[in-house]
């Protein structure tokens, strides 16, 4: 069957999956993507406008600024026919509506936390706990090898439910970042088995 072999030859059977990397501003999302991506992290400008929340309030002929928001992403070829994409969420809270778009279809999410600025990640934890159905884990990024708090303290500080996996990592380290991704997939897998019928 020439036609079917040419289909697979041209890679038409290749599928893609996605993991979302969330967390506040400056917690190391780009660093994590950078440490595991096989391509230099790319940057795409999501389309949006400042006025998207209140279109009807625009004054007629009024000045309207258009804003783009950049998001980083990376790619990992896991198998010849399976690519994994990593998407860092925009850190600023005013871009949250983009998170829904980014999260759609993801197999899971990582919320990165910097213990020196733990408040930066409250919002992301809150989003995945309450506004999203995605399985997620929390990864504490150890900057400079220092680790200001132990994991129990972090769990308390984030008011994180017991069933949300909490791990530590060094986002600059490739092996550690791969470990984070494995932890997300493992968690998603566990949840999918729990929810699977039978």
């Amino acid at each position: 069957m020439d036609s079917s072999s040419s289909l697979s030859d041209s890679g038409l059977l290749t599928i893609s999956a996605k993991i979302v990397i969330a967390g506040g501003f400056g917690v190391g999302k780009t660093t994590l993507v950078n440490s595991v991506s096989e391509v230099a992290p790319l940057n795409t400008d999501a389309w949006m406008t400042e006025a998207s929340e209140g279109v009807d309030d625009l004054p007629p002929g009024g000045k309207k600024s258009t804003t783009t928001v950049a998001m980083d992403f990376g790619r990992i070829t896991l198998h010849q026919d399976l690519l994994l994409y990593l998407f860092g969420t925009p850190g600023q809270s005013r871009f949250w509506f983009l998170w829904d778009d980014l999260s759609r279809g993801a197999l899971g999410a990582v919320v990165l936390v910097d213990t020196n600025r733990i408040d930066q990640s409250f919002a992301a934890v809150n989003y995945f706990e309450h506004d999203s159905v995605l399985p997620f884990i929390v990864a504490v990024n150890r900057f400079e090898g220092k680790f200001a708090h132990d994991l129990d303290e972090v769990r308390d500080a984030l008011a994180l439910a017991d069933d949300v996996p909490l791990i530590e990592c060094d986002a600059r380290d490739r092996a550690a970042s791969i470990g984070v991704l494995q932890a997300v997939v493992t968690h998603s897998l566990a949840l999918s088995r729990v929810s699977a019928p039978g």
Binding site: L7, T14, S16, A17, K18, A51, L82, L84, R104, V185
Partner: protein, 141 residues
């Protein structure tokens, strides 16, 4: 159709009366963010689910079709020969994600490009997740 209204506003908001030749720099700066929306005719929704990670490829490149396309669509069509995700197409061609989605959807309508299924299309089922985990474990460190 609030979406339509939003885009009409976006498209029509820049100062009018600036000719192409009159103030080229100003025009260029503005055109970059306005023109793509005009290209989609104000459409922001697509008939196909195109996630940021959805892979697009071109089963059989048709140079005649390519010639007939608008420049942005032609660029997408040509670039998709490498089998790229919606996000990669957006990033490498510096086109906003929403515009890429609409134009790709048009190309799908013309049977010009192929939409690959995502893991989500398989509902992230355990077999797919296991293959992903397996792949992650085999990555060189």
């Amino acid at each position: 159709m609030t979406y339509l209204a939003k885009d009409v506003i976006t498209v029509s908001s820049p100062d009018t009366g600036v000719g192409r030749g009159a103030r080229p720099q100003t025009y260029k700066m503005k055109s970059k963010r306005v023109r793509p929306y005009a290209l989609t005719g104000g459409r922001t929704r697509t008939r196909h689910q195109l996630l940021v990670e959805t892979l697009i490829s071109v089963p059989e490149f048709d140079p005649v079709l390519a010639e007939s396309l608008m420049p942005e669509s032609r660029a997408l069509y040509t670039r998709a020969c490498q089998r790229l995700s919606i996000a990669e197409l957006s990033a490498t061609l510096t086109l906003p994600l929403g515009v890429v989605r609409v134009l790709i959807s048009d190309l799908v309508g013309q049977d010009a490009v192929f939409i690959h299924p995502t893991a989500y299309a398989y509902e992230n089922n355990p077999q797919v997740l296991e293959r992903i985990l397996d792949g992650l474990k085999q990555l060189p460190v």
